[in-house]
């Protein structure tokens, strides 16, 4: 029995132009539809990439000495790294037709736990073993919330929107309980000086290196492994996936745990970047991450999306905000522009769906 999307078992598609031919046999039509929808997914990715490249080109032409500089590239990528990690995890969740509003709060909770662990293990003078333990604590703290989210969604059958709305408040509240409402402002000096503000080869911020590696690894997992295929299957049609033999509940649980674990990593990264927790500073992370994955081509109905697209979606608002300030346009217009790009991206997704369904 074939799983939807398991194209390894289908014969290679015929090399005919994808135009409507009424005399085609049914099997051929299905194959053409599969090829067309894969190409369409590719096209949607090209669309937003073209938008991002045009924006970068436009701002570089306008301000070559301010925008198109190494400094600007370094700070832009470093500042976007946390959102990159969040969007990587959220891609898996959205592709599986879920949603997670709690990512900002889980990030804060993980950063508080990680900071407390590192303070207990030496504080500002702690060594790398303490820093690694802090990372593990952050990931574990995040995964704890992922397990809770996953359990409530799959076993208690509560919709993801409601569950994660609840954990949004609960995680932030618990973080404030643990920290008594005060930011923990002591982190190991090595963490901040190397990961937080340091750069690989003196040029590429370590924060961006970490985020890029995670994006590449998880992007490959989503695209080329069975785990990724099952994620698309659960998002396209959980019932079909279940009948094909996929343990949908267990798979969704894993997806939410992975995503929350990545939020934990982002929490640890934010400790490095800001030299402490920033409890009040992540309340709009969830909407920013959702906007990023939607701009990047994920469909909120599930079954469509790539990590690469989500990364483009992360950078479009960041480049807009940076470019607008450098060029001298009023910052408030950035929100308008991001809204327009978001609607455009969803519209392109709608066109793609319509044409895929008309095969």
């Amino acid at each position: 029995m074939t799983v939807p999307g398991d194209d390894a078992q289908l014969p290679p598609p015929p090399s005919v132009p994808a135009t409507h031919e009424p005399d085609r046999s049914r099997a051929d039509r299905v194959l053409v539809a599969v090829k067309r929808s894969r190409l369409a997914r590719f096209n949607a990715g090209i669309g937003v990439s073209a938008i991002l490249i045009s924006l970068i080109a436009a701002f570089s032409i306008a301000r070559p000495h301010e925008f198109a500089t190494g400094f600007n590239a370094r700070t832009l990528t470093a500042d976007a790294s946390s959102l990159m990690v969040l969007a990587t995890g959220l891609t898996f969740v959205v592709v599986s037709a879920g949603i997670d509003l709690s990512i900002g709060s889980v990030l804060v909770f993980a950063s508080v736990i990680s900071a407390k662990v590192m303070v207990a293990l030496g504080g500002a003078s702690a060594g790398w073993s303490a820093i690694v333990l802090g990372l593990l604590a952050a990931v574990a703290a995040g995964m704890g919330w992922g397990l809770l989210n996953g359990f409530l969604i799959t076993k208690a059958k509560i919709p993801p929107l409601i569950v994660t709305l609840g954990t949004l408040g609960a995680a932030l509240g618990l973080a404030q309980v643990v920290s008594s409402g005060q930011d923990v402002q002591v982190v190991p000096a090595h963490l901040q000086s190397t990961i937080g503000i340091g750069a690989a080869f003196g040029e590429i911020p370590w924060l961006f290196v970490i985020a890029a590696v995670l994006a590449i690894v998880f992007g490959l997992i989503l695209r080329y492994t069975r785990f990724g295929r099952y994620t698309y299957a659960c998002g396209s049609s959980p019932e079909a996936a279940r009948r094909a033999g996929v343990n949908v509940d267990r798979h969704l649980m894993k997806v939410y745990v992975i995503q929350a674990g990545l939020a934990g990593v982002a929490g640890w990264m934010s400790l490095a970047q800001f030299a402490g927790t920033t409890i009040a500073g992540h309340s709009s992370d969830n909407l920013n991450a959702i906007a990023a994955v939607v701009i990047g081509g994920c469909s909120l109905f599930g079954g469509v999306g790539t990590v690469a697209g989500s990364m483009v979606g992360v950078f479009i608002p960041a480049v807009l905000a940076d470019g607008f300030l450098i060029v001298g346009l009023q910052a408030f217009w950035v929100e308008v522009a991001v809204g327009a790009v978001l609607i455009l991206a969803v519209y392109l997704d709608l066109l793609r769906r319509r044409s895929a369904n008309s095969a």
């Binding site: 045009s54 436009a58 600007n72 005060q182 009040a280 309340s283 450098i326």
Partner: protein, 325 residues
């Protein structure tokens, strides 16, 4: 393929629009940027849309006009380091001659501001200073004096006796903690006055409404309320009007704009402790300009506060913060 054409057309339009924007804005900016005399100074506020910072920006721009400098005002849309740091980095990338920054976090902003200084930009910290202080000088509010003045003003209004509720933003906001600390220190001089509770509303006026109503219900003999910031003040004003305790429970708030002045005249508030953000903005631009023109930069300055009450409306109501320049 129709979709591909559609997408490419969109991208082409965007690129064309970008080039047009580039042509118009760069040509508009070019003459100013090339002129050697006009200095470019960018102000980074703590958060946009907040009257204290609006007044600070207005003061900066007014001083800029007097000195003949180009003063641009930027700021994050939320009061947090995570929102402010990308703005600071973009300002650094845009290479003004000097920058005036009101840091949202006294630790997290250190490394971006050090990068700004390393980029050759003269930095003046305003409103609060990072720990340790950075830049050529700092122009800050005297938060200790603000707390002390709050206590003495309240004592006069309460005739030296009664119970007090303090409402603040969050434990750990350095400016407000300093005000509370000095408020409590000065309050020791009045043995018949004491604080029964300190509530934190996380910069959410709705939260302060519910907290204040709760405390009033629990302590019907509450004498007065003191707030450390404008958002908490707004919440308490609403709470007092809702419970019909305005005037009965005395209220001294920190920071005030037009709405607070109206409430002072209506006896909902009996005292407003006002900083002088307009003056801070002026002094900061003055100091930045001095550092750019080779004059000696003034040492770190603490700008004072004034208490506005019904009795000194004539002289002190001009210190109320404006909502736009």
């Amino acid at each position: 393929m129709p979709r591909m054409k559609h997408v490419l057309a969109t991208a082409a339009v965007l690129a064309a629009g970008g080039a047009a924007m580039a042509a118009t804005t760069s040509s508009a900016q070019a003459p100013v940027a090339r002129s050697a005399a006009a200095k470019n100074i960018t102000v980074v506020l703590g958060v946009t849309g907040f009257q204290y910072y609006v007044a600070l920006g207005c003061g900066a721009q007014a001083e800029g006009k007097t000195l003949g400098a180009n003063v641009k005002v930027e700021g994050p849309s939320a009061f947090s380091a995570t929102a402010q740091i990308p703005v600071v980095n973009s300002v650094t990338a845009s290479h003004p001659d000097a920058a005036i920054v009101a840091p949202d976090d006294v630790k997290a902003l250190i490394s971006p501001l050090q990068q700004m200084i390393a980029g050759g930009i003269k930095l003046v910290e305003v409103d609060t200073a990072t720990t340790p202080a950075l830049g050529v000088t700092q122009v800050t509010s005297n938060n200790a004096q603000a707390g002390a003045l709050g206590a003495t003003t309240l004592a006069k209004i309460m005739h030296d006796k009664g119970t007090i509720l303090i409402v603040s933003t969050a434990a750990g906001v350095s400016t407000e903690d300093l005000r509370i600390k000095q408020f409590l220190a000065v309050l020791k001089r009045y043995p018949k006055m004491h604080v029964i509770s300190t509530q934190y509303d996380n910069a959410n006026p709705e939260m302060s409404v519910s907290e204040v109503s709760g405390v009033i219900s629990a302590h019907p003999t509450l004498g007065a309320i003191y707030t450390t910031n404008l958002l908490s003040t707004e919440g308490v004003e609403t709470a007092l009007k809702q419970t019909h305790d305005a005037g009965k429970i005395k209220f001294v708030g920190s920071d005030g704009a037009a709405a607070q002045l109206a409430d002072l005249k209506a006896n909902v508030m009996q005292g407003i402790i006002l900083q002088m953000p307009f003056k801070e903005g002026q002094l900061a631009v003055q100091a930045a300009y001095d550092s750019l023109t080779g004059k000696t930069v003034p040492p770190p300055t603490q700008v004072g506060v004034v208490a506005l009450t019904k009795s000194n409306l004539a002289t002190n109501s001009k210190f109320i913060y404006q909502s736009h320049c």
